[in-house]
Symmetry: C2
Subunit: 311 residues, 2 copies
Protein backbone atom coordinates (compact mmCIF):
# COMPACT_ATOMS: atom_id res chain seq x y z
CA UNK A 1 0.00 0.00 0.00
CA UNK A 2 1.53 3.33 -1.02
CA UNK A 3 1.89 6.21 1.42
CA UNK A 4 3.63 4.31 4.23
CA UNK A 5 6.00 5.94 6.71
CA UNK A 6 9.25 4.21 7.62
CA UNK A 7 10.40 4.68 11.22
CA UNK A 8 14.12 3.97 11.60
CA UNK A 9 15.91 4.72 14.86
CA UNK A 10 17.82 2.58 17.37
CA UNK A 11 17.38 5.19 20.16
CA UNK A 12 13.76 6.27 19.96
CA UNK A 13 10.79 4.18 21.02
CA UNK A 14 8.95 2.80 17.95
CA UNK A 15 5.82 1.94 19.98
CA UNK A 16 5.49 5.47 21.36
CA UNK A 17 6.05 6.99 17.92
CA UNK A 18 3.63 4.64 16.18
CA UNK A 19 0.96 5.45 18.71
CA UNK A 20 1.57 9.19 18.51
CA UNK A 21 1.56 9.22 14.70
CA UNK A 22 -1.63 7.15 14.48
CA UNK A 23 -3.30 9.39 17.00
CA UNK A 24 -2.68 12.29 14.58
CA UNK A 25 -3.40 10.25 11.43
CA UNK A 26 -5.16 6.92 12.15
CA UNK A 27 -4.89 5.65 8.56
CA UNK A 28 -1.09 6.09 8.41
CA UNK A 29 0.75 2.85 7.60
CA UNK A 30 3.81 2.89 9.89
CA UNK A 31 6.64 0.43 9.13
CA UNK A 32 9.33 -0.11 11.75
CA UNK A 33 12.85 -0.69 10.40
CA UNK A 34 14.14 -3.27 9.58
CA UNK A 35 10.60 -4.59 8.74
CA UNK A 36 10.09 -2.45 5.63
CA UNK A 37 7.63 -4.66 3.75
CA UNK A 38 7.54 -3.61 0.08
CA UNK A 39 10.09 -0.75 -0.24
CA UNK A 40 7.97 0.80 -3.00
CA UNK A 41 5.19 1.50 -0.45
CA UNK A 42 7.26 3.96 1.53
CA UNK A 43 6.55 7.63 0.87
CA UNK A 44 8.13 9.30 3.95
CA UNK A 45 10.79 8.33 6.48
CA UNK A 46 11.24 9.41 10.10
CA UNK A 47 14.82 8.59 11.03
CA UNK A 48 17.70 8.94 13.42
CA UNK A 49 20.89 7.57 11.89
CA UNK A 50 19.19 5.11 9.56
CA UNK A 51 21.53 2.30 8.43
CA UNK A 52 23.53 3.49 5.38
CA UNK A 53 21.76 2.51 2.19
CA UNK A 54 18.38 1.99 3.81
CA UNK A 55 16.85 5.25 2.59
CA UNK A 56 18.51 4.90 -0.84
CA UNK A 57 16.65 1.61 -1.28
CA UNK A 58 13.22 3.28 -1.24
CA UNK A 59 12.20 4.12 -4.85
CA UNK A 60 9.20 6.30 -3.93
CA UNK A 61 10.64 8.17 -0.93
CA UNK A 62 9.60 11.84 -1.08
CA UNK A 63 10.49 13.25 2.35
CA UNK A 64 12.96 12.40 5.09
CA UNK A 65 12.27 13.78 8.56
CA UNK A 66 15.12 13.80 11.06
CA UNK A 67 14.22 12.76 14.63
CA UNK A 68 15.85 15.84 16.10
CA UNK A 69 17.21 19.26 15.29
CA UNK A 70 20.71 18.28 14.12
CA UNK A 71 20.68 16.82 10.62
CA UNK A 72 24.42 16.28 10.21
CA UNK A 73 24.08 12.45 10.17
CA UNK A 74 21.72 12.66 7.18
CA UNK A 75 23.81 15.18 5.27
CA UNK A 76 26.93 13.08 5.92
CA UNK A 77 25.31 9.94 4.47
CA UNK A 78 26.35 10.00 0.80
CA UNK A 79 24.00 7.11 0.00
CA UNK A 80 20.94 9.33 0.48
CA UNK A 81 19.80 10.89 -2.82
CA UNK A 82 20.33 14.65 -2.36
CA UNK A 83 17.16 15.61 -4.24
CA UNK A 84 14.91 14.21 -1.48
CA UNK A 85 13.95 17.03 0.87
CA UNK A 86 15.05 16.67 4.50
CA UNK A 87 12.98 18.17 7.32
CA UNK A 88 14.16 18.48 10.88
CA UNK A 89 12.08 18.30 14.02
CA UNK A 90 12.21 21.18 16.43
CA UNK A 91 9.24 22.25 18.52
CA UNK A 92 8.61 24.25 21.66
CA UNK A 93 8.82 21.20 23.94
CA UNK A 94 12.17 20.14 22.48
CA UNK A 95 13.42 23.71 22.87
CA UNK A 96 12.16 23.89 26.45
CA UNK A 97 13.80 20.56 27.33
CA UNK A 98 17.11 21.78 25.90
CA UNK A 99 16.80 25.14 27.67
CA UNK A 100 16.15 23.32 30.97
CA UNK A 101 19.17 21.11 30.43
CA UNK A 102 21.35 24.15 29.79
CA UNK A 103 19.87 25.88 32.84
CA UNK A 104 20.71 22.85 34.97
CA UNK A 105 24.29 22.73 33.67
CA UNK A 106 24.87 26.47 34.07
CA UNK A 107 23.44 26.56 37.62
CA UNK A 108 25.52 23.51 38.55
CA UNK A 109 28.70 25.22 37.36
CA UNK A 110 27.75 28.61 38.79
CA UNK A 111 26.99 27.16 42.23
CA UNK A 112 30.18 25.07 42.20
CA UNK A 113 28.32 21.84 42.89
CA UNK A 114 31.27 19.69 41.74
CA UNK A 115 33.29 21.08 44.64
CA UNK A 116 30.60 20.04 47.12
CA UNK A 117 30.36 16.57 45.60
CA UNK A 118 34.11 16.13 46.15
CA UNK A 119 33.72 17.36 49.73
CA UNK A 120 30.83 14.96 50.32
CA UNK A 121 33.06 12.03 49.36
CA UNK A 122 35.36 13.12 52.21
CA UNK A 123 32.45 13.78 54.65
CA UNK A 124 33.75 17.34 54.69
CA UNK A 125 31.51 20.32 55.54
CA UNK A 126 33.22 23.35 54.07
CA UNK A 127 31.10 26.40 53.48
CA UNK A 128 31.97 28.77 50.64
CA UNK A 129 30.02 32.01 50.24
CA UNK A 130 27.83 31.65 47.16
CA UNK A 131 28.00 34.33 44.46
CA UNK A 132 24.97 36.09 43.02
CA UNK A 133 24.32 35.27 39.39
CA UNK A 134 24.68 38.84 38.16
CA UNK A 135 28.46 38.36 38.38
CA UNK A 136 28.42 35.28 36.15
CA UNK A 137 28.09 36.08 32.44
CA UNK A 138 26.90 33.18 30.31
CA UNK A 139 27.55 33.01 26.57
CA UNK A 140 25.66 30.82 24.12
CA UNK A 141 27.09 29.90 20.74
CA UNK A 142 24.22 29.09 18.42
CA UNK A 143 21.04 31.03 19.07
CA UNK A 144 18.49 29.40 16.80
CA UNK A 145 15.43 27.53 18.10
CA UNK A 146 17.28 25.65 20.87
CA UNK A 147 20.04 28.11 21.76
CA UNK A 148 17.59 31.02 21.64
CA UNK A 149 15.28 29.22 24.08
CA UNK A 150 18.23 28.53 26.40
CA UNK A 151 19.33 32.18 26.23
CA UNK A 152 15.83 33.41 27.06
CA UNK A 153 15.42 30.97 29.95
CA UNK A 154 18.77 31.87 31.54
CA UNK A 155 18.14 35.59 31.10
CA UNK A 156 14.65 35.08 32.52
CA UNK A 157 15.98 33.57 35.74
CA UNK A 158 18.54 36.35 36.17
CA UNK A 159 21.84 35.56 34.42
CA UNK A 160 23.61 38.10 32.20
CA UNK A 161 23.42 36.29 28.86
CA UNK A 162 25.03 36.91 25.49
CA UNK A 163 24.55 34.96 22.31
CA UNK A 164 26.75 34.45 19.28
CA UNK A 165 25.65 33.29 15.84
CA UNK A 166 26.71 33.30 12.25
CA UNK A 167 24.38 36.14 11.30
CA UNK A 168 22.84 39.08 13.22
CA UNK A 169 19.88 38.25 15.44
CA UNK A 170 18.15 40.04 18.28
CA UNK A 171 16.70 38.40 21.40
CA UNK A 172 15.01 40.45 24.11
CA UNK A 173 17.19 40.72 27.21
CA UNK A 174 20.18 39.04 25.54
CA UNK A 175 23.26 40.79 24.15
CA UNK A 176 24.03 39.39 20.72
CA UNK A 177 27.25 39.12 18.72
CA UNK A 178 27.78 37.66 15.27
CA UNK A 179 30.31 36.56 12.72
CA UNK A 180 34.06 36.20 12.96
CA UNK A 181 34.51 39.75 14.28
CA UNK A 182 31.98 39.26 17.05
CA UNK A 183 33.61 36.14 18.46
CA UNK A 184 36.53 37.68 20.42
CA UNK A 185 34.44 40.20 22.41
CA UNK A 186 31.79 37.54 23.02
CA UNK A 187 34.36 35.12 24.43
CA UNK A 188 36.16 37.76 26.52
CA UNK A 189 32.98 38.50 28.54
CA UNK A 190 31.87 34.86 28.95
CA UNK A 191 32.48 32.84 32.11
CA UNK A 192 30.28 29.88 31.20
CA UNK A 193 30.24 29.00 27.50
CA UNK A 194 27.37 26.94 26.12
CA UNK A 195 27.75 25.40 22.69
CA UNK A 196 24.54 24.73 20.77
CA UNK A 197 25.75 25.09 17.19
CA UNK A 198 24.72 22.73 14.41
CA UNK A 199 27.58 20.68 12.95
CA UNK A 200 28.46 21.96 9.48
CA UNK A 201 31.75 22.32 7.57
CA UNK A 202 31.92 25.87 9.03
CA UNK A 203 31.45 24.84 12.64
CA UNK A 204 33.61 21.71 12.80
CA UNK A 205 36.16 22.33 15.61
CA UNK A 206 34.98 25.93 15.90
CA UNK A 207 35.65 25.62 19.65
CA UNK A 208 39.38 25.04 19.25
CA UNK A 209 42.41 25.84 21.40
CA UNK A 210 42.35 29.48 20.31
CA UNK A 211 38.69 29.94 21.28
CA UNK A 212 39.12 28.14 24.61
CA UNK A 213 42.03 30.42 25.53
CA UNK A 214 40.09 33.57 24.63
CA UNK A 215 37.73 32.78 27.52
CA UNK A 216 38.72 34.11 30.95
CA UNK A 217 40.94 31.66 32.84
CA UNK A 218 38.84 29.15 34.80
CA UNK A 219 35.86 29.41 32.46
CA UNK A 220 33.45 26.49 32.20
CA UNK A 221 32.09 24.80 29.08
CA UNK A 222 28.76 23.14 28.33
CA UNK A 223 28.45 21.28 25.03
CA UNK A 224 25.01 19.96 24.20
CA UNK A 225 25.03 20.72 20.47
CA UNK A 226 27.31 18.42 18.51
CA UNK A 227 30.55 16.76 19.57
CA UNK A 228 32.30 17.71 16.35
CA UNK A 229 32.03 21.44 17.06
CA UNK A 230 34.58 21.11 19.90
CA UNK A 231 38.17 20.01 19.38
CA UNK A 232 38.26 17.40 22.14
CA UNK A 233 42.06 17.15 22.23
CA UNK A 234 42.27 20.91 22.76
CA UNK A 235 39.55 20.78 25.42
CA UNK A 236 41.30 17.95 27.24
CA UNK A 237 44.55 19.94 27.33
CA UNK A 238 42.72 23.10 28.49
CA UNK A 239 41.02 21.14 31.29
CA UNK A 240 44.31 19.61 32.40
CA UNK A 241 45.91 23.04 32.33
CA UNK A 242 43.12 24.74 34.33
CA UNK A 243 42.25 27.21 31.55
CA UNK A 244 38.87 25.46 31.49
CA UNK A 245 37.88 24.64 35.06
CA UNK A 246 34.97 22.31 34.34
CA UNK A 247 32.87 20.94 31.50
CA UNK A 248 29.45 19.39 31.01
CA UNK A 249 29.53 17.27 27.87
CA UNK A 250 26.42 15.67 26.43
CA UNK A 251 27.84 15.12 22.92
CA UNK A 252 31.15 13.78 21.65
CA UNK A 253 33.13 13.31 18.47
CA UNK A 254 32.54 9.56 18.85
CA UNK A 255 29.30 8.33 20.41
CA UNK A 256 29.02 6.27 22.54
CA UNK A 257 32.12 7.82 24.14
CA UNK A 258 34.76 5.03 24.04
CA UNK A 259 35.28 3.37 27.46
CA UNK A 260 38.96 4.34 27.54
CA UNK A 261 38.35 8.05 26.85
CA UNK A 262 39.99 10.25 29.52
CA UNK A 263 36.80 12.35 30.00
CA UNK A 264 35.14 9.47 31.88
CA UNK A 265 37.63 9.60 34.74
CA UNK A 266 37.87 13.38 35.07
CA UNK A 267 36.35 14.84 38.21
CA UNK A 268 35.87 18.17 36.51
CA UNK A 269 33.90 16.70 33.58
CA UNK A 270 30.27 15.58 33.72
CA UNK A 271 29.71 13.02 30.93
CA UNK A 272 26.14 12.49 29.73
CA UNK A 273 25.00 10.07 27.01
CA UNK A 274 23.49 12.58 24.52
CA UNK A 275 20.36 13.06 26.58
CA UNK A 276 19.88 16.84 26.77
CA UNK A 277 16.75 16.97 24.63
CA UNK A 278 14.60 14.85 22.37
CA UNK A 279 11.60 15.09 20.11
CA UNK A 280 8.76 13.96 22.39
CA UNK A 281 6.52 11.69 20.27
CA UNK A 282 3.13 13.00 21.43
CA UNK A 283 4.22 16.55 20.64
CA UNK A 284 6.42 16.15 17.58
CA UNK A 285 4.08 13.74 15.75
CA UNK A 286 1.90 16.74 14.88
CA UNK A 287 4.69 18.32 12.82
CA UNK A 288 5.53 15.02 11.11
CA UNK A 289 1.91 14.50 10.08
CA UNK A 290 1.43 18.14 9.06
CA UNK A 291 4.26 17.72 6.54
CA UNK A 292 2.75 14.48 5.17
CA UNK A 293 -0.50 16.36 4.48
CA UNK A 294 1.43 19.24 2.89
CA UNK A 295 3.43 16.82 0.73
CA UNK A 296 0.25 15.18 -0.58
CA UNK A 297 -1.43 18.54 -1.14
CA UNK A 298 1.62 19.86 -3.00
CA UNK A 299 2.07 22.61 -0.42
CA UNK A 300 5.34 24.06 0.87
CA UNK A 301 6.98 21.73 3.37
CA UNK A 302 7.90 23.01 6.82
CA UNK A 303 11.33 22.99 8.50
CA UNK A 304 13.19 21.93 5.36
CA UNK A 305 16.97 21.86 5.72
CA UNK A 306 19.18 23.96 3.45
CA UNK A 307 21.76 21.36 2.38
CA UNK A 308 24.30 24.03 1.39
CA UNK A 309 24.06 25.77 4.76
CA UNK A 310 24.00 22.46 6.61
CA UNK A 311 21.01 23.15 8.89
CA UNK B 1 30.31 56.91 70.38
CA UNK B 2 26.62 56.02 70.40
CA UNK B 3 24.87 54.66 67.31
CA UNK B 4 27.31 51.88 66.48
CA UNK B 5 26.34 48.69 64.67
CA UNK B 6 27.67 45.36 65.88
CA UNK B 7 28.40 42.78 63.16
CA UNK B 8 28.51 39.25 64.58
CA UNK B 9 28.75 36.26 62.28
CA UNK B 10 31.27 33.46 61.84
CA UNK B 11 30.07 32.70 58.31
CA UNK B 12 29.65 36.04 56.60
CA UNK B 13 32.48 38.28 55.49
CA UNK B 14 32.92 41.25 57.87
CA UNK B 15 35.02 43.20 55.36
CA UNK B 16 32.40 42.93 52.62
CA UNK B 17 29.61 43.89 55.03
CA UNK B 18 31.54 46.82 56.52
CA UNK B 19 32.24 48.15 53.06
CA UNK B 20 28.66 47.70 51.90
CA UNK B 21 27.20 49.33 55.03
CA UNK B 22 29.57 52.29 54.83
CA UNK B 23 28.80 52.76 51.17
CA UNK B 24 25.13 53.25 52.19
CA UNK B 25 25.93 55.21 55.36
CA UNK B 26 29.53 56.50 55.50
CA UNK B 27 29.28 57.76 59.09
CA UNK B 28 28.15 54.38 60.48
CA UNK B 29 30.44 53.04 63.20
CA UNK B 30 30.72 49.30 62.47
CA UNK B 31 32.15 47.05 65.20
CA UNK B 32 33.15 43.51 64.31
CA UNK B 33 32.52 40.89 67.01
CA UNK B 34 34.34 40.04 69.25
CA UNK B 35 35.86 43.60 69.18
CA UNK B 36 32.84 45.39 70.62
CA UNK B 37 34.57 48.42 72.14
CA UNK B 38 32.23 50.05 74.66
CA UNK B 39 29.06 47.90 74.73
CA UNK B 40 26.98 51.02 75.52
CA UNK B 41 27.82 52.45 72.08
CA UNK B 42 25.95 49.75 70.22
CA UNK B 43 22.50 50.68 68.95
CA UNK B 44 21.87 47.95 66.34
CA UNK B 45 23.23 44.46 65.68
CA UNK B 46 23.54 42.51 62.43
CA UNK B 47 23.97 38.89 63.39
CA UNK B 48 24.03 35.25 62.38
CA UNK B 49 24.13 32.99 65.43
CA UNK B 50 25.80 35.53 67.72
CA UNK B 51 27.51 33.89 70.73
CA UNK B 52 24.89 33.36 73.50
CA UNK B 53 24.91 36.32 75.87
CA UNK B 54 26.60 38.70 73.45
CA UNK B 55 23.45 40.60 72.49
CA UNK B 56 22.17 40.56 76.10
CA UNK B 57 25.34 42.42 77.12
CA UNK B 58 24.45 45.51 75.08
CA UNK B 59 22.50 47.97 77.28
CA UNK B 60 21.42 50.32 74.47
CA UNK B 61 20.59 47.75 71.79
CA UNK B 62 17.40 48.78 69.97
CA UNK B 63 17.25 46.51 66.91
CA UNK B 64 18.60 43.09 65.96
CA UNK B 65 18.79 42.25 62.26
CA UNK B 66 19.19 38.61 61.31
CA UNK B 67 21.65 37.90 58.47
CA UNK B 68 19.13 35.83 56.58
CA UNK B 69 15.46 34.97 56.34
CA UNK B 70 15.29 32.28 59.06
CA UNK B 71 15.28 33.79 62.55
CA UNK B 72 14.92 30.56 64.53
CA UNK B 73 18.46 30.87 66.03
CA UNK B 74 17.57 34.28 67.49
CA UNK B 75 14.18 33.21 68.82
CA UNK B 76 15.77 30.11 70.36
CA UNK B 77 18.37 32.18 72.24
CA UNK B 78 16.75 32.80 75.64
CA UNK B 79 19.49 35.24 76.61
CA UNK B 80 18.21 37.82 74.10
CA UNK B 81 15.75 40.25 75.72
CA UNK B 82 12.42 39.60 73.97
CA UNK B 83 11.42 43.28 73.88
CA UNK B 84 14.13 44.13 71.36
CA UNK B 85 12.64 44.01 67.86
CA UNK B 86 14.13 41.47 65.46
CA UNK B 87 14.21 42.16 61.73
CA UNK B 88 15.06 39.56 59.13
CA UNK B 89 16.79 40.12 55.83
CA UNK B 90 15.07 39.00 52.69
CA UNK B 91 15.42 40.82 49.39
CA UNK B 92 14.92 40.07 45.72
CA UNK B 93 18.50 38.89 45.21
CA UNK B 94 18.31 36.47 48.15
CA UNK B 95 14.99 35.19 46.80
CA UNK B 96 16.42 34.82 43.29
CA UNK B 97 19.47 32.94 44.59
CA UNK B 98 17.22 30.56 46.53
CA UNK B 99 14.90 30.10 43.54
CA UNK B 100 17.92 29.29 41.34
CA UNK B 101 19.18 26.75 43.86
CA UNK B 102 15.77 25.07 43.95
CA UNK B 103 15.64 25.13 40.14
CA UNK B 104 19.04 23.46 39.99
CA UNK B 105 18.01 20.76 42.48
CA UNK B 106 14.66 20.09 40.79
CA UNK B 107 16.20 19.88 37.30
CA UNK B 108 18.93 17.58 38.60
CA UNK B 109 16.35 15.22 40.07
CA UNK B 110 14.00 15.50 37.10
CA UNK B 111 16.76 14.72 34.61
CA UNK B 112 18.06 11.83 36.73
CA UNK B 113 21.59 13.19 36.81
CA UNK B 114 22.58 11.01 39.78
CA UNK B 115 22.06 7.95 37.57
CA UNK B 116 24.42 9.36 34.94
CA UNK B 117 27.03 10.19 37.57
CA UNK B 118 26.95 6.55 38.73
CA UNK B 119 27.27 5.41 35.10
CA UNK B 120 30.20 7.78 34.55
CA UNK B 121 32.09 6.14 37.43
CA UNK B 122 31.77 2.86 35.50
CA UNK B 123 32.62 4.47 32.11
CA UNK B 124 29.18 3.28 31.05
CA UNK B 125 27.22 4.96 28.25
CA UNK B 126 23.60 4.05 28.82
CA UNK B 127 21.00 6.23 27.21
CA UNK B 128 17.61 6.66 28.88
CA UNK B 129 14.88 8.60 27.09
CA UNK B 130 14.42 11.89 28.95
CA UNK B 131 10.94 12.88 30.11
CA UNK B 132 9.35 16.25 29.40
CA UNK B 133 8.82 18.38 32.50
CA UNK B 134 5.05 18.58 32.11
CA UNK B 135 4.89 15.06 33.58
CA UNK B 136 6.82 16.03 36.71
CA UNK B 137 4.74 17.89 39.31
CA UNK B 138 6.78 19.86 41.83
CA UNK B 139 5.39 20.86 45.22
CA UNK B 140 6.80 23.60 47.44
CA UNK B 141 6.07 23.73 51.16
CA UNK B 142 6.47 27.31 52.32
CA UNK B 143 5.53 29.92 49.74
CA UNK B 144 6.61 33.18 51.32
CA UNK B 145 9.35 35.40 49.87
CA UNK B 146 11.77 32.55 49.09
CA UNK B 147 9.37 29.68 48.38
CA UNK B 148 7.15 31.96 46.32
CA UNK B 149 10.13 33.01 44.19
CA UNK B 150 11.08 29.36 43.70
CA UNK B 151 7.51 28.45 42.72
CA UNK B 152 7.34 31.28 40.18
CA UNK B 153 10.73 30.41 38.67
CA UNK B 154 9.90 26.71 38.27
CA UNK B 155 6.49 27.48 36.82
CA UNK B 156 8.14 30.04 34.54
CA UNK B 157 10.49 27.45 33.03
CA UNK B 158 7.66 24.98 32.49
CA UNK B 159 7.09 22.73 35.51
CA UNK B 160 3.63 22.06 36.93
CA UNK B 161 4.04 23.64 40.39
CA UNK B 162 1.90 23.61 43.51
CA UNK B 163 2.56 25.40 46.77
CA UNK B 164 1.45 24.68 50.31
CA UNK B 165 1.41 27.13 53.21
CA UNK B 166 -0.15 27.69 56.57
CA UNK B 167 -2.67 30.22 55.26
CA UNK B 168 -4.32 30.79 51.87
CA UNK B 169 -2.21 32.53 49.26
CA UNK B 170 -2.41 32.90 45.49
CA UNK B 171 0.52 32.89 43.07
CA UNK B 172 0.00 33.28 39.33
CA UNK B 173 0.54 30.01 37.49
CA UNK B 174 0.87 28.00 40.72
CA UNK B 175 -1.81 25.80 42.29
CA UNK B 176 -1.97 26.54 46.01
CA UNK B 177 -3.07 24.48 49.01
CA UNK B 178 -3.16 25.45 52.65
CA UNK B 179 -3.58 24.24 56.19
CA UNK B 180 -3.86 20.73 57.56
CA UNK B 181 -6.65 19.79 55.15
CA UNK B 182 -4.68 20.91 52.13
CA UNK B 183 -1.63 18.82 52.89
CA UNK B 184 -2.82 15.36 51.75
CA UNK B 185 -3.97 16.41 48.26
CA UNK B 186 -0.84 18.55 47.86
CA UNK B 187 1.43 15.60 48.71
CA UNK B 188 -0.49 13.10 46.56
CA UNK B 189 0.17 15.12 43.38
CA UNK B 190 3.83 15.94 44.15
CA UNK B 191 6.75 14.05 42.63
CA UNK B 192 9.50 16.41 43.78
CA UNK B 193 8.88 18.01 47.19
CA UNK B 194 10.76 21.19 48.09
CA UNK B 195 10.77 22.29 51.72
CA UNK B 196 11.25 26.00 52.35
CA UNK B 197 9.34 26.43 55.59
CA UNK B 198 10.61 28.52 58.49
CA UNK B 199 11.41 26.55 61.65
CA UNK B 200 8.77 27.22 64.30
CA UNK B 201 7.11 25.05 66.97
CA UNK B 202 4.40 24.31 64.35
CA UNK B 203 6.80 23.21 61.62
CA UNK B 204 9.30 21.15 63.62
CA UNK B 205 9.34 17.67 62.04
CA UNK B 206 6.40 18.62 59.84
CA UNK B 207 7.98 16.42 57.13
CA UNK B 208 7.68 13.21 59.13
CA UNK B 209 7.20 9.57 58.16
CA UNK B 210 3.51 10.09 57.52
CA UNK B 211 4.13 13.00 55.13
CA UNK B 212 6.95 11.19 53.31
CA UNK B 213 4.70 8.16 52.70
CA UNK B 214 1.85 10.32 51.38
CA UNK B 215 4.09 11.23 48.44
CA UNK B 216 4.02 8.90 45.43
CA UNK B 217 6.56 6.08 45.75
CA UNK B 218 9.97 7.12 44.39
CA UNK B 219 9.39 10.82 45.07
CA UNK B 220 12.37 13.11 45.58
CA UNK B 221 12.96 15.64 48.35
CA UNK B 222 14.78 18.98 48.40
CA UNK B 223 15.26 20.65 51.78
CA UNK B 224 16.79 24.11 51.71
CA UNK B 225 14.69 25.67 54.46
CA UNK B 226 15.60 24.43 57.92
CA UNK B 227 16.93 21.04 58.98
CA UNK B 228 14.51 20.81 61.90
CA UNK B 229 11.45 20.79 59.63
CA UNK B 230 12.37 17.28 58.40
CA UNK B 231 12.51 14.23 60.68
CA UNK B 232 15.91 12.96 59.55
CA UNK B 233 15.47 9.48 61.01
CA UNK B 234 12.22 9.08 59.08
CA UNK B 235 13.86 10.43 55.90
CA UNK B 236 16.81 8.06 56.27
CA UNK B 237 14.44 5.09 56.59
CA UNK B 238 12.34 6.27 53.62
CA UNK B 239 15.49 6.61 51.49
CA UNK B 240 16.70 3.14 52.49
CA UNK B 241 13.27 1.74 51.69
CA UNK B 242 13.00 3.45 48.28
CA UNK B 243 9.86 5.41 49.20
CA UNK B 244 12.04 8.49 48.69
CA UNK B 245 14.33 7.88 45.72
CA UNK B 246 16.69 10.81 46.17
CA UNK B 247 17.24 13.90 48.28
CA UNK B 248 19.08 17.20 48.04
CA UNK B 249 19.79 18.44 51.54
CA UNK B 250 21.27 21.86 52.22
CA UNK B 251 20.17 22.06 55.87
CA UNK B 252 20.29 19.59 58.75
CA UNK B 253 19.14 19.14 62.32
CA UNK B 254 22.80 19.49 63.38
CA UNK B 255 25.09 21.75 61.35
CA UNK B 256 27.82 21.11 60.39
CA UNK B 257 26.47 17.64 59.59
CA UNK B 258 28.48 15.27 61.84
CA UNK B 259 31.19 13.36 59.92
CA UNK B 260 29.68 9.98 60.85
CA UNK B 261 26.16 10.84 59.65
CA UNK B 262 24.89 8.23 57.14
CA UNK B 263 23.75 10.93 54.64
CA UNK B 264 27.37 11.64 53.67
CA UNK B 265 27.89 8.17 52.22
CA UNK B 266 24.54 7.81 50.46
CA UNK B 267 24.68 7.86 46.68
CA UNK B 268 21.09 9.07 46.48
CA UNK B 269 21.69 12.07 48.75
CA UNK B 270 23.42 15.29 47.74
CA UNK B 271 24.78 16.97 50.88
CA UNK B 272 25.45 20.70 50.74
CA UNK B 273 26.81 22.88 53.57
CA UNK B 274 23.87 25.32 53.98
CA UNK B 275 24.80 27.27 50.89
CA UNK B 276 21.54 27.65 48.96
CA UNK B 277 21.16 31.39 49.45
CA UNK B 278 22.62 34.30 51.38
CA UNK B 279 22.08 37.97 51.98
CA UNK B 280 24.50 39.56 49.50
CA UNK B 281 26.16 42.49 51.32
CA UNK B 282 26.03 45.07 48.54
CA UNK B 283 22.31 44.44 48.10
CA UNK B 284 21.12 43.75 51.63
CA UNK B 285 23.04 46.63 53.24
CA UNK B 286 20.36 48.98 51.87
CA UNK B 287 17.65 47.33 53.95
CA UNK B 288 19.86 47.29 57.06
CA UNK B 289 20.60 51.00 56.74
CA UNK B 290 16.99 51.88 55.87
CA UNK B 291 15.91 50.39 59.21
CA UNK B 292 18.60 52.35 61.11
CA UNK B 293 17.22 55.57 59.63
CA UNK B 294 13.66 54.50 60.49
CA UNK B 295 14.68 53.61 64.03
CA UNK B 296 16.24 57.03 64.59
CA UNK B 297 13.29 58.84 63.00
CA UNK B 298 10.83 56.86 65.14
CA UNK B 299 9.23 55.37 62.03
CA UNK B 300 7.81 51.87 61.64
CA UNK B 301 10.58 49.30 61.18
CA UNK B 302 10.55 47.00 58.16
CA UNK B 303 10.60 43.17 58.10
CA UNK B 304 10.03 42.82 61.83
CA UNK B 305 9.53 39.25 63.02
CA UNK B 306 6.37 38.21 64.86
CA UNK B 307 7.86 36.33 67.82
CA UNK B 308 4.60 34.48 68.49
CA UNK B 309 4.34 33.26 64.89
CA UNK B 310 8.04 32.53 64.74
CA UNK B 311 8.85 34.25 61.42
Amino acid sequence: MAGALLFSSRLDDPEAWSKALKSEMPELDVRISPELGNPADIETALVWKAPPGELASLPNLKLITNLGAGVDPILADATIPPHIPVARLGDEVMAQMMAQFVTFAVLRHHRDIARYVRQQRLSRWEYVLPRACYDCPVGIMGIGLLGGAAARMLAGIGFPVAGWGRSPRTIDGVETFHGADGLAPFLARTEILVCLLPLTPDTRYIVNRDVLYQLPRGAKLVNCGRGGTVDEAALLAALQDGQIAEATLDVFETEPLPPDHPFWAMDQVLVLPHTASIAVPEIAARDVVANIHRLRAGETLLNIVDRARGY
